[in-house]
């Protein structure tokens, strides 16, 4: 028998009251845990996905939308830009590297991105199996796509038009899987990479089949394009005037950060947006919501603290005899003080542990409900250092809630208590 065990006995002697208080506290702490996890992983992810990209160029529209579509592949693209203009930009001496991208198709909701080999290189992506694409209609799958679709090297599938599920299918051309990327926990996991040419031809075939309705002609055309090799660096070669969707740009020097966006925004029909600037703007907007949720969590924790205080105080009234008896058999005032504090602390410690587990479980439920969004790539069972602070906060609540009851226990007069009978 010791004080720990005695406190524990008293807590388990009132399972309902103890359970309710623990649960209420856990609920508040769970909200804080979820917020912490989301905030931490979102920011890390957002920064990781935007690493190495100084500027995104696309059709005029909302700059935030351009970033979300071009870098994170979560929003709709703003529109198309002519390739000549893009090529003109690539000759600018402020541009170190430029990666062209053509968007517009999906497979099972995973976006098909037409680009060159610089794009996977930007994220230092490694192949899990196979090789990178070299011919039209050859694709490389992100790890998550391969897992969800169950495809490996050699499989074929048909893409559908648009960037969300349910549009019409480009059944004329089959994409052939030539490689699968290793999982790195970044945006590439959810993408299907191919050449810009593949995207162009897909849409050519579609319209040609519709217009000409000639199988023979169509076959010829396809075979011709399939035998070509595609551009793995720079822009695809073409004699026709073609469109791209977005360009990812790396600056050559810091001067570019000042000059290039202005040059593009005022001098061309395109717009330029900086990922870091737009994301900090987005977090600022989201910040209001996060602050509100945090406030709510603090209120819940406050209420649970009050609940613990009331529970301890009420139980103390019933237990004044017990405390007097303990004094009579040799317990000191300090031991009784400790006993009450221990109860409050054990209660909140349980709440903290339950809250953290609850928070992680909430997150894993949220993630399992969102199979494709950015949320899907969050890790629910990653534990952060800040979660230790949650435990500390909880224990502070426990100590605060027990101060008055513990002091009352300290002051209990044994003789008075025992003779009241």
């Amino acid at each position: 028998m010791n004080l720990f065990k005695l406190s524990w006995k008293y807590l388990t002697f009132r399972p309902l009251s103890t359970g309710l208080n623990v649960f209420l506290l856990a609920l508040g702490l769970a909200i804080i845990t979820v917020l912490l996890l989301i905030q931490d992983q979102f920011e890390k992810k957002m920064n990781q996905d935007a690493a190495g990209i100084d500027l995104v160029v696309g059709a005029k529209g909302s700059p935030l939308q351009l970033i979300l579509a071009g870098v994170y592949h979560i929003d709709f693209p703003t529109g198309n830009i002519p390739m000549e203009e893009a090529q003109k930009l690539s000759r600018n001496r402020l541009v170190k590297n430029i990666i062209p991208m053509a968007l517009g198709d999906n497979y099972l909701g995973f976006r098909i991105v037409g680009t060159n080999h610089d794009y996977p290189a930007l994220y230092e992506a490694q192949l899990h199996s196979g090789v990178l694409w070299a011919k039209p209609f050859e694709v490389v799958l992100g790890a998550e796509v391969a897992e969800k679709a169950g495809y490996s090297v050699g499989d074929e599938f048909v893409g559908s038009h648009g960037i969300s599920v349910g549009s019409h299918e480009h059944d004329a051309n089959k994409f052939k899987v030539v490689g699968v990327l290793n999982r790195k926990g970044n945006v590439l996991d959810r993408l299907i990479l191919t050449s810009v040419e593949s995207i162009w031809y897909t849409h050519d075939e579609g319209s040609e089949v519709d217009v000409e309705d000639s199988t023979a002609n169509h076959q010829e055309h396809q075979q011709m394009s399939l035998s070509d090799s595609v551009a793995v660096k720079g822009f695809p070669k073409t004699s026709e005037s073609r469109d791209l969707t977005t360009l990812l740009i790396q600056y050559r020097n810091p001067m570019a950060a000042i000059q290039l966006p202005r040059l593009i925004n005022s001098g061309t029909s395109m717009q330029a947006a900086s990922p870091s600037f737009e994301m900090s703007r987005l977090f600022e907007l989201l910040g209001v919501g996060i602050t509100l949720l945090q406030g709510l969590a603090v209120v819940i924790i406050g209420i649970s603290g009050l609940g613990i205080f009331i529970a301890l105080f009420n139980s103390l009234k019933e237990r004044k005899y017990d405390l007097a008896i303990l004094r009579a058999i040799g317990a000191s005032r300090a031991q009784l003080l400790l006993l009450i504090f221990l109860e409050g602390i054990m209660l909140t410690f349980m709440g903290a542990i339950l809250g953290i587990l609850l928070g992680h479980s909430f997150l894993s439920v949220i993630i399992s409900q969102n199979e494709q969004g950015v949320v899907a790539s969050l890790q629910p069972w990653v534990f952060l250092k800040q979660e230790l602070w949650i435990v500390v906060y909880a224990l502070v609540v426990g100590v605060l809630a027990s101060v008055i009851p513990a002091f009352a226990a300290y002051q209990t007069s044994i003789a008075k208590q025992l003779t009241k009978a």
């Binding site: 028998m1 006995k9 005899y321 303990l326 009579a328 058999i329 040799g330 317990a331 000191s332 300090a334």
Partner: protein, 210 residues
């Protein structure tokens, strides 16, 4: 002299001063404290246990003056050397019988008597693991006696231990207290107005309201 009290006076706020008779006991001796209700019997018991401080006079156990012990020292001394049986059993409801007795060992910081043997001697061997809420009144009172004896104290104080018991249980409880006190060489003081107890212990002092 194992236990001695001299010239004790105590005054409850707003009431008349109480003057108590002197007591001196050797090991194994028993004494009844008799008096009408309201005469200050329980106050005397609280004073002897060191739960209250007398205004004048001194109480000595094992040669130590209780008034000279402060705070934690007094609590520990009480836990080790004084066993108290209250009018009501006041067992800790959250614990079972055995754990209730273990608390005495823990707070008294003393090994004392083997709990199993003690419960056996008091006819409670089968109740060791029972919740104290399932005990009958007589059983509960015996457990509270076991708790008072657990640390082999040198002084056993009992406050109306038989007031809510029937004749049979009264006899049991008094015999238990007497034999146990004799066995561990403790002085026994029973505060009571119960006539049935007088038959067992001839030695007595009377407390009278002044």
């Amino acid at each position: 002299m194992l236990f001695e009290s001299k010239n004790i006076e105590y005054k409850h706020p707003g009431q008349q001063k109480l003057i108590f008779p002197d007591i001196s006991l050797e090991a194994g001796e028993s004494l009844l404290v008799l008096g009408k209700s309201g005469s200050g019997k329980t106050t005397l018991l609280n004073l002897l246990a060191g739960l209250l401080n007398p205004e004048t006079g001194e109480i000595k156990l094992l040669g130590k003056n209780l008034a000279s012990l402060k705070g934690q020292e007094l609590d520990l001394f009480r836990g080790k050397e004084i066993g108290i049986v209250f009018q009501k059993p006041h067992l800790l409801a959250a614990l079972n019988v055995q754990e209730n007795l273990q608390m005495a060992h823990f707070f008294g910081k003393k090994k004392g008597q083997n709990i199993k043997d003690l419960l056996g001697e008091l006819g409670l061997a089968t109740k060791a693991k029972s919740s104290v809420l399932t005990l009958s009144e007589g059983e509960a009172q015996r457990v509270s006696i076991a708790r008072a004896l657990a640390n082999s104290p040198k002084l056993i104080l009992a406050d109306e231990p038989t007031s809510s018991l029937d004749d049979e249980n009264t006899e049991k409880v008094i015999n238990l207290l007497k034999t146990q006190a004799a066995k561990i060489g403790a002085a026994l003081i029973i505060v009571t107005h119960d006539q049935r107890v007088k038959a067992h212990i001839p030695n007595f002092v009377e407390v009278k309201a002044a």
